[in-house]
Point group: C2
Chain length 143, copies 2
DNA sequence: CCGAAATGTAATAAAACCAGTTACAGAAGG
DNA sequence: CCTTCTGTAACTGGTTTTATTACATTTCGG
């Protein structure tokens, strides 16, 4: 699995926005976020665009524009971020249809689908236990 | 995330081997497994090779060779299969080092590491609740 | 109302990964 | 010894990911 870093980038952006907010800066541009994440501003705009579509951040256009959180960071859980930025299921099924003349080939896809669904639920449940505020607190504790 | 199908292929192979075993065929060649999964025998040999290194199957070489389970299918849990075939962590950290002059950039990686570790544990715990025998039973129930 | 500043998005590129395929050396049973 | 099958390397086509450039669009501030 080519593990992507979409969740990492989105959480980093949100945590940084939460810290800036605490310091009185309610809005950040994609350039400012990109400077902390150390990537290209377009990557940040794409990621924050996903979060905007999920209702987690809002944006103002034009000159003096910027991004801001729509909720206090205590009320943004990582599962919402996960759902906002991650589209693919965790495990892929067969790329080509299995042999339907084999009893295993016939029935395995729904069986796997239910197992995979349960595993994803467990993952999402665990992510739901952590908020952006939690991540920020742990981040600032690291000396 | 380009979700790969390694877990699917490995579980399919093991379920098929479990069914064959129940029918008196203790050994299968990679060609026979590939016929059910509907893929190339080399893919199966690579997958079963991972499972062999994890101790879940054994192989005999040469003419009349084949693969067999080393344990009853009730005692093979999906988390063992997952660990055998999946090397990458679920979520990638930053591809390039974040800006260490930013307090968030400095501390976020260990913070995310601990969150991601917990999420993976939850996933693995859930996968541990299902065995190859469970998958086979559900597979055969699907009409 | 004009210009500056910022977003949204398309197009492109390089790197990585995945599934599939061919090929072949090596092992081992008969 | 010969046949069969594994183990693995090499390569291919396709997809994904991150990064980058470019530009039309939006809107604030003066």
């Amino acid at each position: 699995m080519a593990a992507n870093s979409r969740l990492t980038i989105a959480v980093h952006a949100l945590a940084w926005m939460a810290l800036a907010q605490r310091q009185g800066r309610d809005e950040l541009t994609s350039d400012q976020v990109a400077a902390s994440v150390n990537t290209n501003p377009v990557i940040i705009r794409r990621s924050l665009g996903d979060l905007r579509r999920a209702g987690l951040v809002s944006v103002r256009h034009g000159a003096g524009a910027g991004w801001s959180l729509t909720r206090p960071p205590e009320e943004i859980s990582l599962v919402e971020v996960y759902d906002a930025v991650e589209r693919e299921p965790l495990f892929g099924l067969h790329r080509t249809e299995p042999n339907l003349e084999c009893p295993v080939g016939r029935g395995i896809r729904p069986a796997l689908g239910s197992v995979y669904g349960g595993a994803e639920q467990a993952l999402r449940r665990e992510l739901g236990r952590t908020s952006i505020a939690d991540v920020l607190r742990e981040t600032l504790q690291a000396k």
